[in-house]
Symmetry: C2
């Protein structure tokens, strides 16, 4: 899906890590939420509240998912899922464009 | 307006200057278009096709508008207008969140 129709976009960005990670909230008619974001090269740790599905639209990065010892490599496009209430680490090596879906189960 | 309702958002980001400037396109039911973007500290020159109204939502920057010799300073929030087919310069000193409206006259 190249675009999201009939959505609400929160105007102000979420800004993390001095602007190296930024995102905007997209709300859907069914009450679900996604964020569209950009991560610049760097190392980050994030925590989840709900389950998250991270779709990588462009970029190069490695992901260390909770409970894993091996980094998952993503180049260009890919997807990974993080459970609720978990932490995960990212090593971003080129500008990464992502779409994060928040899944309430 | 804190959010845009009933809009279409293009999923993929526009990425400029190695990711130091990024934006996403928001399309409105009336056919108009805005971009929501982030600029990291740096110096940039942009060119316009249509007239643009740049609303600064957060950040610190100086703007040199076409034909001007004095830089306009914006801190926190502000707005400036750039005519169509013109160039303007920005000196961004802290992470800047913006909303750009494209005006076809």
């Amino acid at each position: 899906m190249a675009e999201f129709n009939n959505v609400t976009v929160v105007k102000k960005a979420n800004i993390y890590f001095d602007g190296k990670v930024t995102s905007r909230i997209v709300q859907f008619a069914d009450g679900t939420k996604k964020t569209l974001g950009i991560m610049l090269p760097g190392e980050y740790e994030f925590g989840t509240d709900s389950k998250e599905i991270m779709e990588i639209l462009a970029g190069e990065l490695k992901v260390l998912l909770p409970g894993e010892t091996e980094w998952l490599e993503i180049s260009g496009s890919g997807e990974f899922t993080v459970p609720a209430n978990a932490k995960f680490k990212l090593q971003v090596s080129s500008v990464t464009d992502y779409c994060c879906s928040y899944i309430h189960e």
